[in-house]
């Protein structure tokens, strides 16, 4: 394969991993547990856009918007109905992790029951599947959207966390939830909002993956694992680290595939994770 195409493929994969990693990291910052349902939310994003594009056949913008919103609201409701009661009961992070495994399993099964377990493709809208050639690499519209969005979302979140009141509250809660409560931050309301934003970004990533390659119920696990791996490589909780990890993982995977073959992508990704956990568990960005 030609080098420009290889770099383009790495950027595309990296962009989707980045979107998942930053959204995962943001929720992790305030709750400190591995939310294994995060990838399933992304899958819901892909399926919801698929569904609402048919429901609002006349207006694709509304279809896409409602689809992503659906994923966001679902993420919010899961936090309110499951994670929040667990936290109130002072459950350990491991209990929350196991509960999120359950949520992941439920969503995967529901998607398969509602939409069949077959691989499906999203219809083409706005010419998103049209391709352009840049420096000898062929990219489709949705791939460019994903790359641009990943950069915008990352910078947006970094600025947001640094300069807005909401962002400062998030940083306060991530340092200490107890102290934040004492100084008058409504931590549970805040965590709810964080889950909403995080799930919206995940839903968007799922939609990009859906337009790019297609949707199947098991896609959530793939997306989740890549997102977690990228955020650990970059440094858990760090937004900018999540982006770094996402693109690094994209490059390692695609160049690795160039050397071995496509089927070993997941194994390569996990080998990278385990190496990082052993050698540099705090990730690239943290001291």
């Amino acid at each position: 394969m030609l080098l420009p195409q290889l770099i383009a493929n790495s950027l595309i994969a990296g962009a989707i991993y980045t979107l998942l990693a930053v959204s995962f990291s943001m929720a992790f910052r305030v709750t400190k547990f591995f939310n294994f349902a995060h990838g399933a939310i992304a899958a819901v994003g892909g399926y919801a856009v698929f569904f609402f594009l048919q429901a609002f056949a006349t207006n694709a913008i509304i279809g896409i918007g409602v689809g992503i919103l659906f994923a966001g609201v679902l993420g919010f409701l899961i936090e309110k109905c499951i994670y929040l009661p667990l936290r109130k009961r002072k459950s350990s992070n491991t209990v929350l992790l196991v509960a999120s495994l359950g949520v992941f399993t439920i969503i995967e099964a529901l998607l398969a029951i509602l939409f069949s377990s077959q691989f499906q493709t999203l219809p083409s809208v706005f010419g998103l599947d049209a391709t352009v050639e840049i420096f000898g690499a062929v990219l489709s519209g949705i791939q460019i959207v994903a790359i641009v969005a990943s950069v915008l979302v990352t910078t947006g979140l970094v600025l947001f966390l640094r300069f807005t009141k909401f962002g400062k509250e998030i940083r306060a809660v991530s340092d200490s939830e107890e102290v934040s409560k004492i100084v008058g931050i409504n931590t549970n309301a805040l965590i709810g909002k964080v889950f909403l934003v995080s799930a919206l970004i995940a839903g968007f990533a799922g939609m990009c993956a859906g337009f790019d390659t297609g949707i199947e119920p098991t896609m959530g696990l793939q997306l989740l694992l890549k997102g977690i791996i990228a955020s650990i490589i970059g440094g858990l909780g760090s937004i900018y680290g999540g982006a770094l990890g996402g693109f690094l993982l994209g490059f390692v995977e695609n160049f690795g595939v160039w050397q071995f073959s496509g089927e070993w992508k997941d194994a390569i990704a996990f080998a990278v994770l385990i190496l990082f956990l052993l050698l540099r568990p705090q990730g690239i960005t943290k001291q």
Binding site: I82, P85, I106, A112, A271, L277, L278
Partner: protein, 288 residues
């Protein structure tokens, strides 16, 4: 009757899987989400030895256990560096890697098509081909596994494991090589899971990678959490309930494809409800 025997055999296989996982998760407190990998290694090793090399089932079974123990020791070295959530994540990663080996190492595992034509066990000319005979074999294995597990948890080794689960630092202060204990129990769990895998391969006579995914690991985890962590009887009860429950769906006339997804839906929901209302499970002596 055939159907009841079939269910009894499945329950037996899941009792082995859940008791062995309970040793690791319940008694040693290591949240392993990779049990299906060892189950698969046992199944594949047995299937490959029997179909390609023509080795007898019982020897293949031992080879399967040996391979699984070897792999688990290598994994265990890596896993021993982690705790709690990171342990769960890294072990889940190993399940993904194992699954992709089953799926992609075509020359050895037959890829997505799997391995057909695995024979039933043959012991000095006695073939366990009828379901009843096979049930007898499974029952013997379950009894041996149960006695062995009971022996482990009642021994001083088992008490040390519970100690590690409650307070690893303290045990280390008393001079216990805790890493060594964790590695041994992980390897024992893996070996027993491989035994279940061998029985499964020979019983169904056909295996493919889809039986050994993360979802299967989660399913075994649900069994032991439902029954209760650190309680072997709980695991038996959990296996019986969770193997029989989805069969009810078939009785109410649900098509197979949907029933499989409903099974997954039920055990996912069960996991969430257990975490919310009874994280100890029904007979549990330890809560995560």
């Amino acid at each position: 009757m055939e159907y009841l025997i079939h269910l009894a055999i499945l329950i037996g296989i899941y009792v082995i899987l859940s008791e062995s996982l309970n040793l690791v998760v319940g008694y040693a407190g290591l949240l392993s989400v990779t049990h299906a990998a060892f189950y698969g290694i046992g199944a594949y090793a047995t299937a490959i030895c029997m179909t390609s090399l023509g080795v007898n089932f019982f020897l293949s079974l031992l080879i399967g256990i040996a391979v699984s123990v070897l792999v688990s020791v290598l994994m265990g070295f890596v896993l021993s560096r982690f705790r709690d959530d990171y342990y769960a994540l890294a072990s889940l990663g190993f399940n993904v890697i194992a699954f992709s080996v089953f799926l992609n190492w075509n020359a050895l595992t037959g890829g997505a098509f799997g391995i057909p034509g695995i024979e039933r066990p043959n012991f000095l000319g006695v073939v366990f081909s009828s379901p009843l005979a096979f049930l007898l074999l499974v029952a013997i294995c379950v009894a041996l596994v149960h006695l062995f597990s009971k022996f482990i948890v009642d021994s001083s080794f088992g008490r040390a494991l519970k100690g590690i689960r409650e307070d690893e630092e303290a045990l280390r202060v008393f001079g216990y090589e805790t890493h060594f204990y964790k590695l041994i129990i992980f390897a024992i769990g893996a070996g027993l899971a491989a035994l279940a895998g061998s029985l499964y391969a020979s019983y169904i006579t056909y295996i493919d990678p889809t039986g050994f995914t993360i979802n299967e690991s989660i399913f075994i985890l649900v069994i032991i959490i439902l029954g209760g962590l650190a309680n072997l009887k709980g695991s038996i009860a959990g296996a019986i309930v969770l193997v029989l429950l989805p069969e009810l769906l078939r009785f109410i006339g649900m098509p197979n494809e949907i029933a499989a997804q409903m099974r997954q839906l039920i055990y996912g929901a069960m996991l969430v409800l257990l975490m919310l209302y009874r994280p100890k499970g029904f007979l549990g002596e330890y809560r995560i």
